[in-house]
């Protein structure tokens, strides 16, 4: 089945710059989650935003959700080299326990 989609597929920025990643999904959701994956490791949960929320913050992370456009964005402010990783969105559908992961955005932060 088709997964959610992230944009861009890859992003390269300098340390200190902000990084923005976008995610689109196809169905009605209960919530949307963002995860981070360091090379060759498991995914780590970053933040969850519920369908009735529009914006959420956690440290240097800011997530927005637009249910009318079926899209979300993840902003990482003041990026560090240690933020280099792949970032995935996961949409959790209503009406059942169905979570769809996107293919991910690879972020590279240059020191």
């Amino acid at each position: 089945s088709q997964q959610g989609e992230e944009d861009p597929q890859a992003l390269s920025i300098q340390e200190g710059e902000n990084a923005t990643m976008n995610c689109s999904y196809k169905t009605s959701i209960n919530n949307l989650q963002w995860y981070r994956q360091n090379s060759g490791r498991g995914l780590v949960h970053l933040i969850l935003i519920r369908s009735n929320e529009r914006e959420k913050h956690s440290g240097r992370l800011r997530v927005t959700l637009d249910t009318s456009k079926k899209s979300s964005s993840l902003l990482i402010t003041a990026s560090r080299a240690a933020d280099t990783a792949s970032y995935f969105c996961a949409s959790v559908n209503t009406g059942g326990f169905k979570t769809i992961f996107g293919a991910g955005t690879r972020l590279f932060v240059k020191a």
Partner: protein, 112 residues
Amino acid sequence: DVKVTQSSRYLVKRTGEKVFLECVQDMDHENMFWYRQDPGLGLRLIYFSYDVKMKEKGDIPEGYSVSREKKERFSLILESASTNQTSMYLCASTSGQNYGYTFGSGTRLTVV
């Protein structure tokens, strides 16, 4: 520190072998999942389980089976390994759909 532990980080098996991937969580979660991850395809759900002895097929169950005899343990079985099952396998658990998943570190399986 809560944890999902996968028994092997790297595994090399021969075509036709029966392969067991083990996953154990210490968070008393009801829900456990097996995903495979391939470049460009993201995570695809193989099987999941809501409770002990309960299992549901995900998007790509063919060639796989699972076992959940105890709440903390969810095993993925490749009945007869094939080269197209070479992949990264990720186990995850969660207490419910309003919570994030906790993932294991993954098992990179190579079938030769």
